[in-house]
């Protein structure tokens, strides 16, 4: 069997902390009722981390994904979950404390993404409504 080269990438914690902060701001900005253009600046910041920061190296950048509302099962090793409620079937992500952070780089013209931070989430069964 041909083994895949196991990629272990250590992204400095400061970068992850920075991404987590952007994520927090994004979360808060969506709750704002007044009209605002905060999302624009956030997208810009995300764009810089994704495309500008590492220009000139094989690294493409850092992106994050907010898995809110997605289904959850024990095969999802991209999330660290805590289950709320009593049911364990038909789980859904109801709260995201930290997002999934990906590190992308290019190898032989292929874009490879590696998870450098699993999401920290709270999940709950869709079968019940509290």
């Amino acid at each position: 069997m041909k083994e895949i080269k196991k990629i272990t990438i250590k992204v400095p914690q400061a970068y992850l902390d920075f991404m987590n902060q952007i994520f927090e701001i994004e979360k808060k900005s969506t709750n704002l009722k007044e009209e605002n253009s905060i999302q624009r600046n956030l997208n810009k910041m995300k764009g810089i981390l994704e495309e500008e920061f590492f220009k000139g190296s094989s690294t493409i950048g850092l992106t994050y994904h907010n898995p809110i509302g997605e289904n959850y099962s024990d095969t999802r090793t991209d999330c660290e979950a805590t289950i709320a409620g009593t049911e364990v079937e038909n789980l859904e992500i109801i709260e995201v404390i930290k997002p999934i952070i990906f590190y992308a780089y290019q190898e032989n013209e292929k874009v490879i993404k590696v998870i450098v931070q699993p999401a920290v989430v709270i999940v709950q069964s869709k079968n019940i409504t509290l």
């Binding site: 069997m1 090793t77 709320a84």
Partner: protein, 830 residues
């Protein structure tokens, strides 16, 4: 084959770990499914078709106790078994421990045969419990299992770290406070023999209790002080409570705060995202100080100290008889635990080893001293003759893709597991039949690799002929490419008053496309309400190396003073985003930073958008340009070019005249026809004068090249020489493009080598410094300028050129924006 066991496992109540002794060092194998963590939660979950061990099982432990089992180590050696509802079977603590051991085997990536191991056990384990642990090892496929007591393992890790294989006679304590259990043991070494003299423990105390205490005794009361809740604690802690989900969020935040408090004196806990009973939004930040946290856990820590005191009394010892307390287990990272134990007992706390992996490390050191007792005959790798045929889509934009495989050969006792390379998916270990059907989740915009591993009944890896599974989720294969470059017309700072093209999407890029925001400072200001103030945004299709006039306009947007909310200053940023959908709809959006205002306009390419005013302006510019080029060519006696341009003159005049006659509300196609004509003339001017421009940029290129070579000979390094040679090697290619822009690009690259070298040469640095000194009055911080100048004079005196370079940068930073350009031009021609 290795002659010693070398492999050590810490089979813990809450967490386990595996380590190996290799050539004098111990390697801890990290958990491949847990982002480099070294430990595996000792929790096993059962479903009809699969068994999961570790973190994922732990998540379900509390809520699904009928299928998930943890802390079974406490029941080792008892006749008790755990009834598992999902598979309708009972599992003994031995079988469960064997599952954890089997999972740990999959951490080992060195390809070794795993047939012998040292497994650690608590000091409190009796013969039956010890034998049960041994049996678990055998069930996990180890042929030889040697047991070692945990406090001894920790002590060995310490001794080896200290490089003291032979420790001096004496006694010490091993204080092991983990995630959920506490143990303390008194160890004695006499004439090289280490043994456990006494021990105590609490099976229900650990770090998780501290997180709970922060939430219950600190956070919840603070929330209730500020907001109205009649029964918040119950609503949070009850599984059916309204705020049960919030309770777990707080537990996570409390854990983070606890970890922060190990290195800082205070930590914040953010509480938000729900409402109190009066409808007020809860949004607060609580600060917990280290002393407040210490106060919370004090009773528990004092409880552990009481146990130590019992041991000391029972063994008729005085604190001075004990050399130190060796701290083991993750919770001993808490500074208070260390200091309190030391303070009360008056025995030094020893925190020199990594508390989470010490036991596994010690086990591996011990394993390195134990000979293997397995004959070579037993050691043959299990061979199977299965063949796997796979089928799946190699490219997909779906969220999941079905992976199917057919297995031929004997699959009895075999299992499989599929993992995604980025660590985001684990199918769990499943029984292998003659078919596999799995929905594999894909990460969008990346190449997804999966591995399919096949194991025997003891989790030994079986060799198969399967290649890694690769699914491309980057683009849709049938995506359409764009036939031409898409460009934005921007100011040409090198030729004031003129414009050039900025490439936004390159020819053949696949639709849909969306650019990142492109920011520019505005070259003019705009007054609110003034209709004469405007900004044009012009998007063109065609080669980005051509002149703007020669390309086809596909989108044009104007922003007028009447549309803006406030005055906009010259130099403030405009950010332009361009997107093209799969069906070629173009959208331009422009954002004025200063006004915090966005303008967005979709363009349907079928409707050409050509404002007459803009067309008139372009035609006028082009006409002026033509005149200028003819004049220049005639002056240079380049009659061939002048002749070619003169031929265009008549046509230009017609276009100018007709455009001039257009009314601003003309509804005919005339404007489009004129635009096409204008474009054609521009293309012809472009090709007639290209030679002239090429000659200019080539001459500039050779000038820079010569200067660069000279500098390289004098002061260049290998890297700069290589960059220079690379550019020279491409000369034929970029000259052949006949594109002035391409050649200019290479001149710029050459120029940057030149600048780099110059910034190391004493003459250049001194002259820059001199220039800065002469311009000191222009600097915005005179005190700093003066101290930098003094330092610079000293740097020149002591010939410290590196320092002078830093000082120059500092001085230039104090100057207005373009000063660097100005300074570097002084006396250097280029």
């Amino acid at each position: 084959m290795e002659n010693t066991i070398n492999l050590g496992i810490d089979l813990g109540t809450t967490n386990s770990a595996i380590a190996k002794f290799v050539k004098g060092e111990v390697i801890i194998f990290s958990n491949p499914q847990d982002y480099g963590r070294n430990t595996l939660p000792s929790v096993v979950s059962f479903k009809k078709d699969k068994i999961t061990v570790g973190n994922k099982a732990k998540e379900f432990l509390e809520k699904d106790p009928k299928s998930v089992v943890g802390v079974f180590k406490r029941k080792m050696g008892t006749s008790e078994s755990f009834k598992i509802k999902s598979i309708n079977e009972s599992k003994t603590p031995i079988e469960l421990s064997a599952q954890v051991l089997k999972e740990l085997k999959t951490f080992v990536n060195t390809g070794d045969t795993l047939d012998a191991v040292v497994i650690t056990i608590p000091a409190s384990f009796d013969t039956i419990q010890s034998n049960a642990t041994k049996e678990a090892g055998i069930q996990a496929g180890f042929k030889q299992v040697v047991l070692l007591q945990e406090p001894i393992a920790a002590s060995l890790a310490y001794a080896n770290m200290k490089k003291e294989r032979e420790m001096k006679d004496g006694q010490w304590l091993v204080y092991d406070l983990g995630g959920g259990t506490f143990d303390v043991a008194l160890i004695k070494i006499k004439e090289g023999e280490m043994k456990v003299l006494d021990h105590e423990g609490d099976n229900f105390l650990g770090g998780a209790d501290f997180d709970n205490m922060i939430v219950e005794k600190f956070v919840i009361p603070k929330i209730c002080e500020k907001y109205s809740f009649s029964n918040l604690e119950d609503e949070m802690k009850s599984a059916t409570g309204k705020f049960n989900a919030k309770y777990y969020v707080l537990l996570r935040r409390a854990e983070e705060a606890k970890i922060t408090l190990s290195s800082k004196t205070s930590a914040e806990i953010v509480i938000d995202g729900f409402e109190d009973e009066e409808g007020n939004e809860v949004d607060m930040e609580i600060v917990i100080t280290r002393s407040e946290f210490n106060e919370l856990i004090k009773p528990n820590i004092d409880g552990t100290i009481e146990m130590i005191k019992k041991i000391i009394t029972r063994n008729s010892l005085k604190p001075v008889d004990v050399q130190f307390t060796l701290m083991v287990g993750g919770s001993t990272y808490i500074p208070y635990v260390r200091s309190r134990v030391e303070e009360v007992l008056q025995i030094p706390a020893n925190c020199e080893i990594d508390p989470t992996t010490a036991v596994a490390i010690g086990a591996a050191y011990y394993a390195a001293t134990k000979p293997k007792e397995i004959s070579k005959g037993d050691n043959n790798k299990k061979k199977t003759s299965i063949s796997i045929k796979v089928s799946y889509n190699k490219a997909s934009k779906e969220k999941e893709e079905l992976f199917a495989a057919r297995i031929t050969g004997d699959v009895t006792g075999l299992s499989y597991r599929i993992l995604r390379e980025d660590g985001g998916y684990d199918s769990g270990i499943k029984k292998l039949g003659d078919r596999i059907n799995e929905d594999l989740p894909l990460v969008d915009g990346a190449y997804n690799f999966f591995t399919l591993a096949v194991y025997d009944d003891q989790n030994n890896l079986i060799e198969t002929d399967i290649e890694p599974i690769g699914i491309n989720s980057c683009f849709v294969i049938s995506g359409q490419p764009i036939p031409e470059d898409i460009c934005l017309e921007v100011d040409d700072y090198d030729n004031p008053g003129k414009t050039r093209l900025k490439l936004v999407f390159q020819k053949n890029s696949i639709l849909p496309l969306r650019s990142q925001g492109i920011s520019f400072p505005l070259n003019k200001g705009m007054i609110k309400g003034n209709d004469d103030d405007f900004i044009y945004i012009n998007v063109l299709e065609g080669s980005h190396l051509a002149l703007p006039e020669a390309n086809k306009g596909i989108g044009f947007m104007e922003i007028r003073g009447t549309q803006i909310k406030r005055d906009i200053a010259k130099g403030s940023d405009i950010e332009i985003t361009i997107s093209i959908s799969e069906s070629r709809d173009l959208t331009i959006s422009a954002y004025l930073n200063m006004a915090d205002q966005e303008f967005k306009q979709p363009f349907n390419p079928k409707e050409r958008h050509t404002p007459i005013e803009f067309l008139k302006e372009q035609v006028e510019d082009l006409s002026d340009k033509l005149e200028l080029e003819i004049q220049e060519a005639t002056d240079k006696e380049d009659y061939e070019t002048a002749g070619a341009l003169n031929k265009l003159k008549k046509e230009m005049e017609t276009v100018s005249e007709e455009t001039e006659n257009l009314t601003s509300d003309d509804v005919t196609d005339k404007r489009y026809q004129l635009e096409d004509k204008k474009r054609k003339i521009a293309q012809e001017i472009d090709s007639a004068t290209k030679n002239k421009r090429i000659q200019q940029v080539k001459a500039h290129y050779f000038e820079v090249k010569e200067e660069c070579l000279k500098m390289l000979d004098e002061n260049g390094n290998d890297h700069e020489r290589k960059t220079y040679n690379d550019i020279v090697a491409q000369e034929d290619a970029f000259f052949a493009t006949n594109s002035p822009l391409k050649i200019q690009e290479k001149s710029d690259e050459m120029h940057s080598i030149l600048s780099r070298i110059r910034w190391r040469t004493p003459d250049f640095l001194t002259s820059i410094f001199q220039w800065c000194k002469n311009n000191q009055t222009r600097m915005n911080d005179q005190t700093q300028a003066k101290s930098l100048i003094d330092a610079g004079n000293f740097a020149i005196e002591s010939q410290n050129w590196e320092r002078l370079s830093e000082i120059n940068s500092g001085l230039l930073n104090l100057m207005p924006k373009d000063a660097e350009k100005e300074a570097t031009r002084i006396g250097f021609g280029l």
